[in-house]
């Protein structure tokens, strides 16, 4: 659609947004045309989410103009933006866990007469949208709390889609989606753009942007550092330098050719009813073992069970020969295990506590003497990690709630990099983390491994698994179906293994 200059639907000029102690947006310009997929790129904390929240009426800008369909507007409340035809999928799932899928899809816009909800109609409509998204199998009466994270993401998409808007904003929709899901998402996006609907798409995965994007606008430190680049043509090096102000040559640091040390973790015949069956695996000191698989294949449960957060139905977990008591996290931690869980907000962060307290949440005991904590030592240790992972904005005193999604993720992972752990369980460690910070994170992980730490890595990004892991396990429907040296595998073989079975469903789902 390049060249054929379609009508400009949205134009932002000099948008400024201040938060206590932080200027999130410092004069952002953006231009979106009908029927295009306009990608927003930027480091964690660059201001992407804030920008779209300004757009959707969730935040009021402190300065700047919003031109929508040719006339200047200011959205006092989210409702206003929706009415104007702007629908948004927020980065943090914006669903009400206690309500059903259908209720969530139409929350605030329920089809109703005299205040009475037309439940039949609502269910039908919801089912319709979900099917359109290729997920007719999600039961519209199911309580959202009972859905997998991936399914939740689909529901918020259905929400946005059901508004049949002129502009659809998606803030890192692919973060919780596995490869096949993303493909499906893109299918839907193409349908929309074909109807002339504009899409603003935010992601940290460049390959996605190349695939789906038409034009790219890059944010840096709350400013537009480059506008309307060609999504397909612009070289990666340029995009990255526009984002970070520097160039990153190798995302994955070279794999040192050391031979793994003594056996650290030995899992035998581990099973958890309804989640996974008879899983056996080993991790050695100084080794990274990656697990590839679809969302819902049970990887998170596996990690949680090894860690003792869930009680295994059968099987044993040994750390350095020591058998762990099932369902006992503290025992695991005492043995030097650490886990960065999948869902940062619900499982990992104390949102109102300052960054440094979140980083030391699992380790403050170590900085204490005779039960008395030492804020000084804690803070310095935390600052070290925060700097290493480029947590922005600097200053470990601010509540973690006020950090951007990616920066929160860094805090979650950083917690276990403080040292003192022998075996790290990482579940989607780079979810929502930008390219630059990823490189740093990989560096740190490598360094730990060099010091003899063992790592079990779960990631839905196959390249990450292949790039980082020494050995790769492939998991499907709760079973380990393949194990091999990372060097002997490539992305496609892995994807085939991962998706065999579910591919069929794709065909009859679409």
């Amino acid at each position: 659609m390049r060249g054929t200059a379609a009508e400009v639907v949205l134009e932002l000029q000099g948008i400024v947004k201040d938060f206590p102690g932080v200027r999130a947006l410092d004069g952002v310009d953006l231009e979106v045309r009908a029927g295009e997929v306009h990608c927003l790129l930027g480091q964690n904390g660059a201001g992407k989410s804030t920008l779209i929240k300004v757009l959707s009426g969730a935040h009021r800008p402190d300065a700047g103009r919003i031109m929508w369909l040719g006339e200047e507007v200011s959205f006092a409340r989210p409702q206003a933006a929706m009415r104007a035809g702007i629908a948004t999928i927020y980065q943090e799932l914006d669903l009400v866990e206690g309500l059903s899928v259908a209720d969530n899809v139409f929350l605030g816009r329920e089809p109703a007469g005299l205040g009475f909800v037309h439940r039949g109609r609502m269910r039908e409509a919801a089912r319709g949208v979900l099917t359109r998204l290729g997920h007719g199998e999600i039961p519209v009466d199911r309580e959202v709390a009972k859905l997998p994270s991936a399914a939740k993401q689909i529901v918020s998409m259905a929400r946005a889609l059901s508004m049949d808007a002129r502009l659809l904003i998606m803030d890192e929709p692919s973060a919780v989606l596995a490869h096949d899901e993303v493909a499906n998402l893109f299918r839907v996006i193409r349908e929309l753009t074909a109807q002339g609907i504009a899409v603003i798409y935010i992601s940290h995965r460049l390959e996605e942007i190349r695939d789906i994007g038409d034009r790219v606008t890059v944010l840096k430190d709350g400013r537009t550092s480059a506008a309307n680049l060609d999504a397909k043509g612009t070289p990666t090096r340029e995009l990255v330098s526009k984002m970070t102000g520097r160039t990153i040559e190798y995302v994955f640091p070279p794999r040192p050719d050391h031979s793994p040390g003594a056996e650290l973790l030995a899992v035998e015949g581990l099973s958890l009813a309804g989640e996974f069956h008879d899983v056996s695996l080993k991790v050695h000191a100084g080794e990274i073992v990656g697990i590839a698989g679809l969302v819902g294949s049970g990887r998170s449960e596996l990690l949680e069970t090894i860690y003792g957060a869930r009680r295994a139905g059968a099987g044993t977990v040994r750390v350095a020969g020591q058998e762990l008591r099932p369902g006992d996290v503290r025992a695991a931690v005492r043995q030097g295990l650490g886990m960065a869980p999948e869902e940062r907000k619900s499982q990992a962060l104390v949102l109102d506590d300052p960054v440094y307290r979140n980083i030391t949440l699992a380790t403050f005991g170590r900085f204490a003497s005779a039960g008395f904590t030492s804020h000084g030592r804690e803070r310095t240790a935390a600052v070290r990690i925060a700097d290493e992972l480029q947590v922005r904005p600097p200053g470990v005193e601010r509540p973690v709630r006020t950090l951007s999604g990616g920066n929160q993720q860094k805090v979650v992972v950083g917690r276990w990099l403080l040292g003192g752990t022998r075996l790290l369980l990482l579940d989607e460690p780079t979810r929502g983390v930008d390219v630059g910070a990823r490189a740093e994170l990989y560096e740190v992980i490598r360094r730990l491994v060099a010091d003899g730490v063992g790592i079990l890595l779960v990631s839905s990004e196959v390249p990450e698994v292949l790039g980082l892991a020494d050995r790769v396990l492939v998991m499907r429907e709760g079973r380990l179906i393949h194990e091999a040296e990372a060097s002997t595998l490539d992305e496609h073989t892995v994807l085939d293994m991962v998706m065999a079975g579910s591919l069929l469903e794709t065909e009859n789902a679409v």
Binding site: S56, A58, R77, P78, Q79, M82, T88, Y90, D94, L95, V96, E97, G98, L99, D103, L107, G108, R109, E110, A112, G115, F116, V117, R119, G134, H135, E137, I138, P139, D141, R142, E143, K146, L147, P148, A150, A151, I154, D180, E181, N184, A273, G274, E275, L294, V295, G296, S297, G298, E477, G478, M499, S502, L503, E505, T506, A509
Partner: protein
């Protein structure tokens, strides 16, 4: 492809039981247990079906006032709030609607007054919370204190009898329709209306949303402040209705009516599965909670238990009740999952 590989499969046809339904079954279990204890301790009475029927109606009658209040409280709590002022509002409205001045307007005038005063006071709670940004606990605590004072001021701390002219109010606690006491029917009516409002209207859906995830509610374009005011007004309305019930039961309005009702209502709602943190709760559960508490009291008095033992045993029963119920839920959960 699917994101629900592990999602608990739903047997075709039959819908799975929702958590709340399971909970409420647990509560029914508790009620049966209470009856059983009764049958064991006073077989002479509890096995006499005629007596049993009358006694259960009595329990329901005694439960009616708190029951109505608890319906309002359930809304407030699902919406993420709490209303400590309900007891005091019952006192205030009961006094206001039994002043000589009011009573001249007859029973209807009294009912009207009670309802209006209740709604106004409730809305005031709502305004303080929604616009004054006070914590519900504090705002309604202030209302509790002030309303009691006002009630004492109006009544001069004297019991205000309903005068004989106001037949309707006087008779309300005597009347039966198809053998069911009018007061019980009032509670049931409020319960049914509450259920519909909560489960079948946008108001209800939004109440859940506001309590469950205020940010999401805001982003969905729900007017949270206005909704909060409505929630507390609703609670006030229920207090007004409850006041009428109390007045007709005791044939008088008094500043000491509704003493500690707030505790009973909140406890009943929580026993019934409503979350103090908001976002979860059912009308049926709350009403069952109320009946359980009144059933326990009745059980004691029927057994002429000395007060101190009443209290000790009551504490034990509350714990037992919750445990029974949890057992019920978790066992069912185990069965449905995995």
């Amino acid at each position: 492809m699917t994101v629900l590989e592990k999602a608990t499969p739903i047997p075709a046809g039959r819908r799975e039981w929702s958590e709340p339904v399971k909970r409420n079954l647990g509560l029914v279990g508790v009620l049966i247990a209470i009856l059983a204890v009764g049958a064991i301790t006073r077989p002479d009475l509890f096995l006499d079906l005629d007596w049993l029927w009358r006694n259960e109606l009595l329990i329901l009658t005694q439960a009616s006032a708190i029951g109505v209040i608890t319906v309002g409280m359930t809304f407030v709590m699902i919406g993420g709030g709490i209303d400590l002022s309900v007891g005091a509002l019952v006192a205030l409205t009961s006094v206001w609607c039994t002043t000589v001045a009011t009573q001249q307007f007859g029973s209807l005038g009294m009912i009207f007054t009670a309802v209006v005063v209740g709604v106004i006071a409730g809305s005031l709670n709502g305004v303080l919370i929604a616009y004054g940004r006070l914590v519900p606990f504090i705002a309604t605590l202030a209302m509790l204190v002030a309303a009691r004072g006002l009630a004492q001021m109006i009544s001069g701390k004297l019991t205000q009898r309903v005068d004989v002219a106001n037949q309707f109010i006087n008779q309300l606690s005597f009347n039966k329709i198809l053998g069911i006491p009018a007061l019980v029917l009032i509670m049931l009516a409020v319960g049914v209306l509450g259920w519909i409002l909560l489960n079948r209207t946008t108001f209800g859906r939004r109440t859940f949303a506001i309590g469950g995830n205020p940010e999401a509610a805001r982003l969905a374009g729900i007017n949270i402040r206005r909704h909060l005011v409505l929630l507390y007004a609703l609670s006030g309305l229920c207090c007004g209705i409850a006041a009428i019930i109390v007045v007709s039961l005791s044939s008088a309005g008094a500043a000491d009516h509704g003493d500690l009702y707030e505790l009973d209502a909140i406890a009943a709602a929580i026993i019934g599965g409503t979350a103090l943190s908001g976002g979860r709760g059912t009308i049926v559960g709350s009403l069952l909670g109320v009946v359980i508490f009144k059933g326990i009291t009745n059980l004691f008095i029927v057994n002429n238990l000395e007060q101190e033992y009443q209290l000790i045993v009551k504490g034990a029963i509350i714990v037992a009740a919750v445990l029974i119920q949890q057992f019920r839920v978790s066992s069912l959960r185990r069965r449905t999952s995995g």
